[in-house]
């Protein structure tokens, strides 16, 4: 128990998770959370839903304003200009200062821009912050003939969905030869690409943006592609990834690589300074197959949990468990558990099933002995607990298949795709699986597979 002053820069999921757990474990500590972006913690993942009128801004805030007072977590809305690590104080843009005993950097990311000519024009932006949402709403509330999105990843497809809601035609430039190439195997990418095109998106693969052209008022008016084509547009969405938001820390004594350099205890190069979430860069990958910078909602949350635990208990190293992730591409949900590399790998067996309507698929990777390494599913839901256990306990693929019914997380009465998957697995791998039969009720409902 201490009365030391913890200052957290950043009120995203990492910083807030840290603050909440610290308060649970330490009733005495003084906790201050600083953010220039918004007074209260909000869910960044919900920005698109606010734009599409599916939620209001206040719905993005997981805790009501009284929560912070009750838990004695002080919130300060201000931008930090510099940190004086010698005197342990923050200097705000207003000139005001604040002292800390321990500093937790949870400053997140910012959209990565790659020096395109014209990238500073009005109407060119990423989608990361509350301010990004506001500028996007302002720009697209004017009539716009077309929008161009650059970058074939999760933010890119979110932007496409948002602009489609506003009935703004979209051209979607993807540098790679398929959508989300670093994660999706080819068949899954094909499936998603078809779905994207079904929404009247002009998807251009293997196409880069070379330049953004300006009109006389400094607004973006067109994009020039690597194919030399000029595409007229009033909005350019930059979705080519994110990069740690650490510019204000550069040129200080703190060790910075791409992000704030930390060890597996989230300790930076300076005493009493820690970094968690998107802005942190581990010296070594925290687990096999993991990256040194983990820019995922779930990782940020786990970083916060673990660091808070370490302040209240004997410190442990950060050890993420079985990998998992999820996303949604228009209507198609994506989940993955364990490791499924986008390309086939030597010594790894591959099982793939896709539904004939082209909106549902399942892939499972097995090691040479036939033990499950990971799964990737589109268009239906799988149970985290089930696959976490199967992968952790290295179940044989056959056992996973036999039990698959228990691993499905779709709502009641949904089509039992798993039965078709079991049959397909048996055709490919043989084995003694007894595929489940449709129940009387499933037949009655005509639950088509």
């Amino acid at each position: 128990m201490s009365t030391r002053h913890f200052v957290i820069i950043g009120n995203g999921v990492s910083g807030i998770t840290f603050a909440r757990h610290l308060r649970k474990g330490d009733a005495q500590a003084r906790i201050t959370v600083i953010s220039g972006e918004s007074p209260y913690f909000f869910s960044r993942t919900a920005l698109m839903y606010v734009y599409m009128g599916q939620m209001k801004w206040e719905h993005t805030q997981p805790y009501e304003p009284h929560f912070w007072k009750k838990n004695r977590i002080d919130l300060k809305q201000a931008w930090v200009k510099t940190v004086d690590f010698e005197t342990k104080s923050l200097v705000f843009e207003s000139g005001e200062t604040l002292n800390y005993d321990s500093l937790v950097l949870a400053t997140g990311s910012k959209p990565a821009f790659f020096g395109w000519p014209g990238q500073q024009l009005k109407g060119v932006q990423g989608l990361y912050s509350k301010q990004d949402l506001e500028t996007m709403e302002a720009i697209t509330s004017q009539p716009i003939e077309r929008a161009v999105i650059v970058g074939g990843g999760l933010i890119g497809i979110e932007l496409a969905e948002m602009l489609t809601y506003k009935k703004i035609p979209v051209t979607f430039l993807v540098r790679e030869n398929r959508f989300w190439e670093q994660v999706l195997p080819e068949s899954e990418a094909d499936l998603v690409q078809k779905h994207i095109r079904d929404h009247a998106i002009d998807l251009r693969l293997e196409t880069e943006m070379k330049e953004i052209l300006s009109d006389s008022n400094g607004n973006a008016r067109a994009v020039v592609t690597s194919a030399g084509e000029e595409i007229s547009c009033g909005f350019v969405g930059i979705a080519t990834g994110v990069t740690p938001n650490v510019d204000f820390l550069k040129n200080s004594s703190l060790a910075i690589g791409k992000g704030v350099k930390i060890n597996s205890y989230f300790e930076s190069s300076l005493p009493d300074v820690y970094a968690i979430g998107d802005c942190a860069e581990f010296e070594n990958p925290p687990g096999p197959g993991r990256r040194t910078i983990e820019q995922v909602w779930y990782s940020g949350r786990m970083h916060g949990e673990t660091l808070a635990y370490n302040f209240c208990n004997t410190p442990v190293t950060y050890q993420p468990g079985v990998w998992f992730n999820s996303a949604k591409f228009f209507a198609i949900e994506y989940q993955t558990y364990g490791w499924v590399s986008p390309e086939p790998m030597d010594g790894v067996q591959d099982f793939f099933w896709a539904h004939r309507d082209g909106k549902v698929s399942f892939r499972m990777r097995l090691d040479q002995e036939g033990k499950v390494l990971g799964v990737l599913n589109l268009g239906f839901r799988l149970r985290h607990e089930f696959f976490d256990r199967a992968i952790r306990e290295k179940w044989f693929g056959e056992k996973v298949m036999q039990e698959l019914g228990k691993g499905v997380f779709d709502p009641e009465f949904y089509a039992p795709y798993y039965q078709e998957i079991q049959a397909a697995f048996q055709r490919q791998f043989g084995g003694a699986i007894v595929p489940s039969k449709k129940s009387f009720f499933q037949k009655l409902l005509g639950s088509s597979q």
């Binding site: 999921v13 757990h21 649970k24 869910s43 993942t45 919900a46 839903y49 599409m52 009128g53 599916q54 939620m55 209001k56 719905h59 993005t60 805030q61 997981p62 009501e64 009284h66 809601y165 909602w297 779930y298 949350r301 786990m302 949990e305 673990t306 635990y309 442990v316 190293t317 950060y318 050890q319 993420p320 468990g321 079985v322 998992f324 999820s326 996303a327 949604k328 228009f330 209507a331 949900e333 989940q335 839901r381 799988l382 149970r383 985290h384 607990e385 976490d388 997380f409 779709d410 709502p411 009641e412 009465f413 949904y414 089509a415 409902l445 639950s447």
Partner: protein, 514 residues
């Protein structure tokens, strides 16, 4: 399709306009013969005398007629009340019956045409609008734009709709005589179904059933690839049409008591009233069966079904109030208040109403079996207070009229005593829960935003905790609107249903409470 949608909307609006105008297109002429015909024997002579000045007069509107009626009738009653001659006071309201009998107007002369041009056009326009407007959007994209809509986000259209609904309910409950022209046009249907005359309640039942049907079509289209939503919608449409509307009318045709076999005390608050019990007992085998069936539902049906399936078996699959909320009210579900404060109000209010219903019913039954020696006629006072405050004002005016202001489950969440009873079973002894999918929640808040019961679903999901709440009606929309596949309505083993110490899967460093 856009064109058809516009045509649908125009037809709907024209129908609403006709429906709203018809009550004004009526004139009245009362005769002594009509009074003799409409008034119960015990009051006949008195009323015939009191209303003497009205005979032969022509009244150009229902308002003129009812004003005249009041000015002739009310002083008599007031005098008796002043003298505290309670047993002589005429409690029955003959206004509706006399207006219905004495009136003339297009809806009476041409009932079928009037019906077609009002309710008919509303239904036709509504169906066209739904079919043409359904587009090709996937279920999970079906909730976009609700906060950009004037109707669905408390804009001018929302306010107008709410005001209209509230007005309709106030007239229906306390000034039904004004609706008599609308009742004329459903008279032939009532005659066909029950062999008897139509009341304002028959009109209301018909409109209610049609509304659930038309908006049920909307639900099936909106949730085109969600079997759960489609099945429960089909279920509420069926129970409303068959159990709440048709069967009771046919029972009347067969000279049996009017009875809704799916209505359960204490929602059906007059089930144990003396006149109901008398009706059951005096109606032979079927009447007795109704009494036993109703009691079995209370003592066995509710606990058993709720144990296996949660309160959803009733609230979002069978109930009439739930049926309206889930069809007509679906467009307003996101307007519920999710704050902690609202949850506190909710628990006090709904359990308060349950307590009130239990006390009132217990007194009624004890009084009945003590041959009214305990409280005499005091239970009647209780009944009229409860009927006014809870049965009419809360369940009707607020329950439905407030859809566009506070969401579609105001009554179910804050007032329904049966929901309170079902909720207690669901909370403490049930297999039902909404399972959270490990660590997959991203705290986006879609689930909480679209929860019609105002449950902060996210608060549980982001901790990896199952959602076990007495108020959850199991509509399944949180699971549908979740972009990450995190929520699933399930009936499973009781063990592990409530996570007191939830653990989010995915972090091997520590195992801690969220």
């Amino acid at each position: 399709m856009r064109g058809i949608q516009v045509i649908g909307l125009v037809l709907f609006l024209v129908g609403m306009l006709v429906f709203t105008t018809l009550p004004f297109l009526s004139s009245y002429r009362l005769t002594e013969a009509l009074v003799q015909d409409q008034v119960n024997e015990i009051h006949r002579e008195k009323l015939a005398e009191l209303l003497q000045p009205m005979y032969g007069q022509s009244y150009p509107s229902s308002h003129a007629f009812l004003t005249a009626y009041s000015s002739n009738f009310d002083p008599y009653n007031e005098e008796l009340k002043a003298k505290q001659a309670w047993d002589q006071v005429i409690w029955d309201d003959y206004g509706f019956a006399l207006a219905k009998a004495a009136g003339e107007g297009p809806a009476r002369s041409y009932p079928w045409t009037s019906l077609a041009l009002s309710i008919g056009l509303v239904v036709l326009g509504g169906v066209l609008f739904q079919f043409a407007g359904s587009g090709s959007a996937h279920t999970s994209l079906a909730h976009t734009g609700v906060f950009h809509s004037s109707l669905k986000n408390r804009g001018v259209l929302g306010m107008l709709t709410g005001t209209y609904l509230i007005g309709f309910y106030v007239i229906l409950y306390w000034f039904p005589a004004y609706l008599s022209p609308l009742v004329w046009m459903v008279e032939p249907i009532a005659q066909f179904l029950s062999g008897g005359p139509a009341s304002q309640w028959f009109l209301y039942g018909l409109v209610y059933t049609l509304a659930i049907g038309v908006m049920g079509i909307r639900m099936v289209l909106k949730y085109r690839d969600n079997k759960y939503q489609q099945l429960r919608t089909a279920s509420v449409v069926f129970f409303q049409t068959a159990f709440a509307f048709l069967i009771p009318e046919v029972l009347v045709l067969l000279n049996k008591p009017y009875f809704d076999f799916k209505n359960i005390w204490p929602l059906d608050y007059d089930f144990f009233y003396d006149y109901q019990i008398d009706t059951f007992i005096s109606s032979g085998g079927l009447g007795l069966f109704m009494l036993i069936w109703g009691i079995l539902l209370i003592v066995l049906g509710v606990p058993l079904f709720t144990y296996f399936y949660g309160k959803r078996w009733y609230c979002s699959w069978v109930c009439g109030c739930g049926g309206l909320a889930e069809t007509v009210g679906d467009a307003f579900r996101h307007l519920s208040d999710k704050s902690l404060k609202a949850w506190k109000w909710e628990r006090w209010m709904i359990h308060g109403v349950l307590a009130l219903a239990v006390v009132m019913t217990t007194l009624t039954i004890v009084n009945y079996f003590s041959s009214f020696s305990l409280l005499g006629q005091v239970t009647n006072q209780l009944h009229s207070i409860y009927g006014f405050a809870i049965g009419s004002a809360f369940a009707g005016v607020v329950g439905t009229g407030f859809y566009p202001f506070m969401g579609n489950r105001v009554w179910c969440r804050f007032g329904c005593p049966l929901a309170a009873y079902l909720g207690l079973v669901q909370r403490f002894k049930s297999k039902f829960r909404i399972t959270t999918n490990g660590g997959q929640c991203i705290s986006c808040g879609n689930c909480s935003t679209h929860c019609e019961m105002g449950i902060d679903v996210r608060a549980y999901a982001q901790q990896g905790q199952n959602i076990v709440r007495s108020s959850c009606v199991g509509c399944g929309v949180c699971a549908s609107v979740c972009p990450r596949g995190v929520l699933k309505l399930e009936n499973g083993p009781e063990e592990g249903r409530i996570h007191e110490f939830p653990i989010l899967i995915g972090n091997d460093s520590i195992k801690l409470r969220s």
